[in-house]
Amino acid sequence: MSGSNGAQSTETVLKIFRGDGTTGAFKDYTVPLQPGMVVLDAVHWVQAHQASDLACRWNCKAGRCGSCSAEVNGKPRLMCMTRMDHFPPGEAITLAPMKAFPVLKDLVCDVSWNYGVNRRIPAFRPRAPEPDGTWRMQQEDIDRVQEFRKCIECFLCQDVCHVLRDHDRKDRFAGPRFLVRIAGLEMHPLDAASRTAHLKEEAGIGFCNITKCCTEVCPESIHITDNAIIPLKERVVDDFYDPLRRLWRRLRGTA
């Protein structure tokens, strides 16, 4: 690669977390460098040559599946999309598992909590189709929902969200990933269900104070805060804090 003049480094040191949920330490591995190499290649090299039991998740190696999430030099990233030449030559690179979730082993976390959150979101409920049994939708009406559906569930946004990472409020807050998913349902042109009660109570949307950390780490460049979370917050306010609507709900007995 261009960029650095002078002597090209031919190898680099990875400091990889080895351990489980109770104990562990960073261990050094020296890895030979190749043009265009990504961090996941380096981890695979370590597995093949130095530590066959080093645990990491991966699948597509092309930024599509969102399996190889980890913290590279402290920043949440996909290892398959992080080039080794992104870092200053000669400096060790630190690899740690995502901090917001319990460690299972090495770079692998227990992310099962996320699957439980997903299951509780009220399902898609389409309005009745047109007489020919299909639906008509305009592209401009689905553009914004297609943005949300780009999500690859890497959970990097969950990892960086301070409500989950620092305050561990997994009991009250669904996290940015699932607010994006709910936005994809709420703004779906065919969907006829309402999830504002779910957003307010179970998903805990009020916990988000829009610091946009999630948007910054999203590998799919989804505008999580601006396009998903803020419009959802507005819907909750409209439904629950608008005095007329509040009265209407009381009259209908659905308060």
């Binding site: 066959s52 039991d53 599509r64 227990d110 992310v111």
Partner: protein, 604 residues
């Protein structure tokens, strides 16, 4: 058997890609209990990598399309070796399966009048692929995943690998699996099992597949005594990335060519005009001017009257052409062909229609595809061959065993058309789920699990831990991948194939001596030793079937027999286990029904 976590189901689905999830949804709707067991987390299956779209004759973009044209294209793409009944079912049922996804929340790109937009693809006469930019597979997986987790009767056992199928008197009685995170064994009692494990791409070094693609379902079925057909047909996708080394093999969607991208050699020639096979000569443009008229029509959203550019020939033809250009010294700097969309479409169109490709090249290869051409070369992509199934129910030749998607054989014949795998998953995933549920409900007595057999299997699975200090399993897997790429690749000879068989035996001996470090907790080295056994089985099957087919057809090219042989056009090569030996035989294909023959000949 207290050492096992034991669970009991009516239907066990192995694999959570499109076929597995669609099968599970259908089986659960029939009212039986269902488990899906998958090697990765839910939603990570290789289906997410499908880019171009799902082929279905919806006729929303071009009203001339119909199931009959789709059927004909599929058969011709498969060089007439397809299971014609499966090809018919695929063409007839795909539109309903796609609309069903929409009813479950999927959002496909739209036509100006608000219907599902369809894209052109290799081998399809009309624009036929419903798509979402270049991330159609992700849209499908997410839709099916959300439907699955909301179904009350489906358990999802994530990050668990099925190591063996269990049988009682020749019929399925369960499966022995291990949980990857803890290494603990999982005994799954079941009446029926649906294999939906995908393909075998990891048998080759240059491939577009994830680590999961180790031929597990092929090997499980083989070990259980099922027939495998068409194992000689491995699809090499014409356009994999070439440079830098670390991304070699990663897929470049056929959608690039569907959107007007062209292939050129180092002399700047559009070489595909020289490679149009006789069978397709009337259907493809023979001048650049005509090909350009077709692209102009497509971009403008008009019905194309010109014939299609030869870049949209079927994958087997394009892959061989690129390989030949490179072999004859007309390759790109890193040994590929140039794929150019930059000079054909506006930058903003490219970013809109091919966003993942744009990002992939920019971030991994420092190439801006809106300004420069890509370099591409064939990459191992898809397995046409697989478990022989009944076209209606997807049942294998072992009672209680079913297969759908890539692991099943027959549908695609000698070559699969792009876009047909996603419709395959939906159409035959559903049929397999239905078939398995009906079988399970009709079963009189609960099949019993053979306890001593289970004990013996667990001892086999744990043996690598006894060999601490043995060779690394990764080294053996790499040797196998190099062997298959070199001797059982795009162009094959009898000498190479015989040599490969002998070498596979040596690798099997090495695989028997590999050791692993550490303990059973999330141990990729241990998992690789077990996956390696499956890769060796499927590699042997591919090699033996390739030896048996002494002709060239579709994805299978024999250097000594460059032409298709009508005799071989009437048979499938079938692989089956007999004791410890792999047997190969030819089996005649049932004659096609008269009405389908007429469709094929274009009389309808």
């Amino acid at each position: 058997m207290d050492r096992f976590e034991t669970r009991t189901y009516d239907v066990l689905v192995i694999g959570a890609g499109g076929a597995g999830l669609r099968a599970a949804i259908e089986a659960a709707e029939q009212g039986v209990s269902v488990a899906v067991v998958c090697k990765s987390l839910l939603g990570k299956a290789h289906t997410v990598m499908a880019e171009g779209g799902v082929a279905a004759a919806l006729a929303t973009t071009d009203g001339r399309d119909s199931w009959k044209v789709h059927f004909r294209d599929t058969m011709r793409g498969g060089k007439l070796l397809n299971d014609w009944r499966m090809a018919q079912l695929l063409a007839q049922e795909a539109p309903a399966r796609v609309r069903e996804l929409e009813a479950w929340g999927a959002l496909f790109d739209r036509t100006p009048d608000g219907r599902i937009l369809q894209r052109n693809f290799g081998g399809h006469q009309y624009p036929r692929l419903a798509h979402v930019g270049d991330r159609t597979g992700l849209e499908m997986i997410r839709t099916l995943q959300d439907k699955t987790v909301q179904a009350p009767r489906i358990d999802v056992l994530m990050e668990s690998t099925v190591a063996r199928l269990l049988t009682e008197n020749g019929r399925i009685s369960g499966a022995l699996a291990y949980r990857r995170d803890s290494g603990r064994f999982l005994l799954l009692r079941t009446k029926a099992a649906v294999l939906a494990t995908g393909g075998i791409g990891r048998a080759y070094r240059i491939n577009s597949n994830s680590w999961e693609y180790t031929g597990d379902g092929h090997a499980l079925a083989y070990a259980a005594g099922a027939d495998l057909i068409g194992m000689e047909f491995v699809q090499f996708h014409p356009t994999g990335m070439v440079w830098p080394l670390s991304v070699r093999g990663i897929l470049v969607t056929e959608g690039v060519r569907g959107e007007g991208g062209v292939l050129k050699n180092s002399r700047g020639e559009r070489f595909m005009f020289r490679y149009i096979p006789e069978m397709f000569r009337g259907d493809f443009a023979d001048t650049e001017a005509e090909a350009d008229r077709w692209v102009a029509d497509v971009i403008a959203g008009r019905k194309a009257e010109a014939r299609r550019p030869p870049e949209l020939l079927t994958r087997d033809v394009v892959a061989r052409a690129i390989a030949q250009e490179v072999r004859e010294g007309r390759g790109s700097p890193h040994g590929g062909a140039f794929l150019d969309i930059a000079s054909r479409r506006k930058a903003e169109d490219i970013r809109k229609k091919l966003p993942s490709m744009y990002q992939q090249f920019l971030e991994l290869a420092d190439v801006d595809i809106t300004r420069e051409p890509m370099e591409v070369f064939p990459t191992t992509h898809y397995m046409m061959g697989g478990v022989k199934v009944d076209p209606e129910t997807q049942s294998a030749t072992v009672p209680g065993l079913f297969a759908a998607g890539e692991v099943a054989g027959g549908l695609h014949g000698a070559n699969r058309l792009g876009g047909n795998s996603l419709s395959d998953l939906l159409v035959f995933g559903r049929r397999a789920g239905l078939g398995a549920a009906n079988y399970a409900r009709g079963l009189g007595s609960e099949p019993q699990v053979d306890a001593p057999r289970v004990e013996a299997i667990t001892a086999e699975l744990l043996a690598p831990f006894e060999r601490n200090g043995g060779e690394s399993p990764y080294a053996v897997q790499e040797s196998l991948q190099d062997l298959m790429g070199t001797y059982v690749g795009i162009a094959r000879t009898a000498d190479d194939l015989q040599g490969a068989l002998a070498e596979i035996e040596r690798l099997r001996a090495r695989a028997g001596r590999v050791g692993v470090d550490g303990n059973r907790q999330f141990n990729p080295g241990w998992h690789t030793t077990l996956d390696l056994q499956n890769l060796l089985t499927v590699s042997e099957a591919v090699t033996r079937a390739a030896l048996a087919r002494r002709e060239s057809r579709g994805a299978h090219t024999r250097v000594e027999y460059p032409d298709s042989d009508p005799q071989f056009g009437r048979v499938n090569v079938v692989v089956r286990r007999q004791g410890d030996a792999m047997t190969v035989r030819e089996e005649p294909i049932a004659p096609m029904s008269g009405d389908l023959k007429e469709i094929l000949e274009g009389k309808e």
